[in-house]
């Protein structure tokens, strides 16, 4: 039996040590917003926050996460869309949406770290998320827009 803190709630499951965090989130906790693409760290679809830092859930074994806080896409914009989600919507930053949860989790963390990024910095971070649909331009625009919105809200 392992006990994990996911989105502020304690959840328990029986999982062999070899179970990936992304599989436990999806299969045991029904949190299917965390997507699984490549299972070797390249595509970024499975990105969640571990203790508020973005990390690949496919390169983490659930058993390792006892004592750590996991945040998944389900905790973002519960009541209303977050500024980043809204900007992705407005800028048409997604089509099929498969990559979107990973992108949202990555940039929710990054924009806390770097509230006023350059386009170059956004592109550098976005290199860790593969998107087969959009061609990335609108995602870059959305992240920059969200950053501006969040800065204004803070003033």
């Amino acid at each position: 039996m392992i006990s994990l803190t996911v989105n502020g709630q304690t959840r328990e499951t029986v999982a062999e040590p070899r179970r990936l965090l992304c599989d436990v989130l999806r299969e045991d906790f029904n949190l299917t917003g965390t997507h699984v693409g490549c299972e070797h760290g390249v595509c970024g679809a499975c990105t969640v926050l571990i203790d508020d830092k973005p990390a690949r859930a496919c390169l983490t074994y659930a058993v390792q996460m006892e004592g750590h806080e996991i945040t998944t896409i389900e905790a973002v914009g519960e009541a209303q869309l977050s500024p980043l989600q809204r900007a992705l919507h407005e800028e048409h930053g997604l089509q099929c949406g498969f990559c979107t949860p990973g992108i949202v989790m990555t940039f929710e963390a990054f924009l806390r770290d770097v509230p006023d990024p350059t386009e170059e910095e956004v592109r550098d971070v976005l290199s860790g998320n593969l998107c087969r649909c959009t061609g990335y331009q609108n995602i870059v625009a959305a992240v920059l827009k969200a950053a501006a919105t969040m800065r204004e809200a803070r003033l």
Binding site: P17, R18, L20, H40, G41, L59, Q64, G128
Partner: protein, 292 residues
């Protein structure tokens, strides 16, 4: 793409971790950031019976810059090395190289110890460790050893770690403020391992002539290569454009990359020459920035 079964251990001290590694020997593997081991486990390229998780060993997550030496604990994450003011001051080359490892989320988890032990021939940290003659600190039941980077890296993903030993820290000589440094890598997509990477440090004498130059190249052999420049007769020369191009050509002559199916040896050699030229220029600009 799911790993084979393993037993999971979560030691709370370095001694306990070493005890587990000694007890289980070759059937055990430490896991640090999991950013290299995770893919290998998932693809079943690695099938340890015992996984020893180092993530609770917070005593190995440290940066200590004291005078001449920057010591970094094995569990220090790439992101901290890339951004911490003490590293940017004591070893800006290491910070700049760490900032190019993989992607932002990879750098949050990946550790310097994991990078050194994984020893990918194109990886940034082993390249800088080789260039700068870093000392690697290794601990086991028999005590602690210091191994120079040039001896630590033995072959592709093979390092001088004996039964039951783990890497605990690495020491870099602090870069003098007057040292110019340059780092260049090329990969097809940002965040991929480099096809070739070049790092250099150099200093000029009072007349603006070359005093010392060191260059290392990654991705062209089984381990990062420190190029012996003694045959290039650089000391005392004026760093002109053509001198720099000659040095870059000299470097490319000293490497002997494999002829790969997708990347011919000649391509890597040309890349090494061009990256060396750029890195040397970058380093020279930095020394001039200091001089003026």
């Amino acid at each position: 793409m799911k790993p084979a079964s393993f037993n999971y251990h979560r030691p709370q001290t370095v001694e306990a971790a070493i005890g587990l590694l000694a007890r289980y020997g070759a059937s055990a593997k430490p896991i640090a950031g999991g950013q290299s081991l995770g893919p290998m486990l998932n693809m079943r390229l690695a099938r340890p019976e015992h996984l020893v998780d180092l993530n609770d060993l917070v005593e190995l997550d440290f940066l200590r810059a004291s005078g001449e030496v920057l010591e970094i604990g094995a569990m220090t994450r790439h992101i901290r090395i890339a951004t911490a003011p003490e590293v940017r001051r004591a070893h800006p080359l290491l910070a700049a190289a760490a900032a190019t490892i993989g992607h932002y989320p990879i750098r949050q988890r990946g550790t310097i110890g994991g990078s050194l032990v994984h020893a990918d021939p194109a990886a940034q940290i082993p390249l800088i460790a080789t260039l700068c003659n870093a000392e690697i600190i290794v601990s086991g039941m028999a005590g602690t050893r210091e191994v120079s980077a040039s001896e630590f890296f033995q072959a592709v993903m093979t390092v001088d770690l004996r039964h039951g030993e783990m890497l605990t820290a690495v020491r870099f000589p602090v870069l003098a403020a007057t040292t110019g440094w340059g780092f260049r890598l090329f990969s097809r997509r940002r965040g991929d391992f480099a096809i070739v990477a070049v790092a250099t440090t150099l200093s000029l004498d009072g007349d603006g002539r070359f005093a010392t130059v060191d260059i290392a190249v990654g991705g062209v052999d089984s381990v990062p290569l420190r190029i012996d420049l003694s045959g290039a007769a650089i000391k005392g020369e004026i760093p002109t454009e053509s001198r720099v191009s000659d040095m870059a050509a000299f470097v490319a002559d000293r490497i002997n990359p494999d002829d790969g199916a997708t990347i011919p040896a000649e391509y890597r050699r040309k890349l090494a020459a061009e990256l060396a030229r750029q890195a040397l220029h970058e380093a020279l600009e930095r020394t001039r920035g200091v001089a003026s």
